[in-house]
């Protein structure tokens, strides 16, 4: 079996994914009850061909949830700003909150490295310790697995800003033309 590629969370204010040119923007209060509704308001402007199996909605919902819950601690007075741009070949978003930033980024990378090692070795017993990333702030409702999926899903990059309270992400889609898949941009 080939070694899995190690994808890591990183933070970089200068990453090109933070270029907001031509992106639309919406601002939401940090209302936990409305996370999926806010997500739908964003996703409704995406073309149907990239809304495959609700996955785009699900992945955007996770990032908005992180901003509302872990960034702004559901403080209704704090805002989440979402910049977004969609086409048949891409989904590009930037989600920013008013929180202190994701301080455990390095711990998460370390945890994920160990998780991938277990997967590589097919050591499912040991993997039990690495299926859910927990911090002091985690509660019972937190799955602790959203960022594992995010790093896989956002194949054009998933990067935090320097303060780590904003994250930019890009998903490239293959465009189906006459039954033939071509690479996204």
């Amino acid at each position: 079996m080939e070694q899995d590629e190690i994808k890591e969370l990183r933070s970089d204010d200068n990453d090109p994914l933070f270029d907001k040119t031509n992106m639309l923007c919406k601002t939401f209060p940090s209302d936990f009850r409305q996370i999926r509704y806010f997500t739908l308001l964003i996703v409704q402007s995406a073309p149907n061909e990239i809304k495959e199996l609700n996955l785009l909605e699900q992945q955007i919902s996770e990032v908005i949830k992180n901003a509302v819950k872990h960034g702004n601690h559901c403080d209704i007075n704090k805002k989440v700003i979402v910049w977004y741009s969609f086409s048949p070949t891409h989904a590009h978003l930037i989600v920013q909150d008013e929180g202190e930033g994701f301080k455990d980024l390095e711990k998460w990378n370390d945890f994920n490295r160990k998780r991938l090692e277990c997967l590589h070795k097919q050591n499912f017993e040991e993997l039990t310790n690495y299926v859910s990333f927990r911090t002091k702030q985690s509660d019972e409702q937190d799955g602790g697995n959203a960022l594992f999926a995010a790093l896989e899903y956002w194949n054009g990059g998933f990067v935090y800003n320097g303060k780590r309270n904003g994250v930019a992400m890009l998903k490239k889609f293959q465009q189906k033309r006459h039954g033939v898949y071509t690479d996204g941009e």
């Binding site: 999926r36 199996l53 919902s61 949830k65 409702q141 799955g143 697995n145 594992f148 899903y153």
Partner: protein
Amino acid sequence: MELKIRKNGDVYIIDVNGEMDLYNSYKLKELVMKMLEKNVKVFIINLEQVDYIDSSGIGALIYICSTIKKMNLKLSIANIHGSVKKVIELTKLMGYFPISNSVEEALLMVKE
């Protein structure tokens, strides 16, 4: 999300119907914990009618699965499909969960 329990011999099948999201996934976890208190030992979670799952739903399945594994009891998760399958694949947990393609296959798995 709706949860229904049916019985096949000693096996308890939980049919989940709806979306397993951040607002309701805890219900499945709570139900399984209550069933464990009542000494249920063999579980099938049927996800045939689930078309949406998020990290909270995956988290609930992880919690249930690890609890049942620790107690040396039996579990199979049946009919994972569509975006649910995709999300589990993204988290690379397909090998972690005891998965079966149908309730019939799950019954064979847990009766082994």
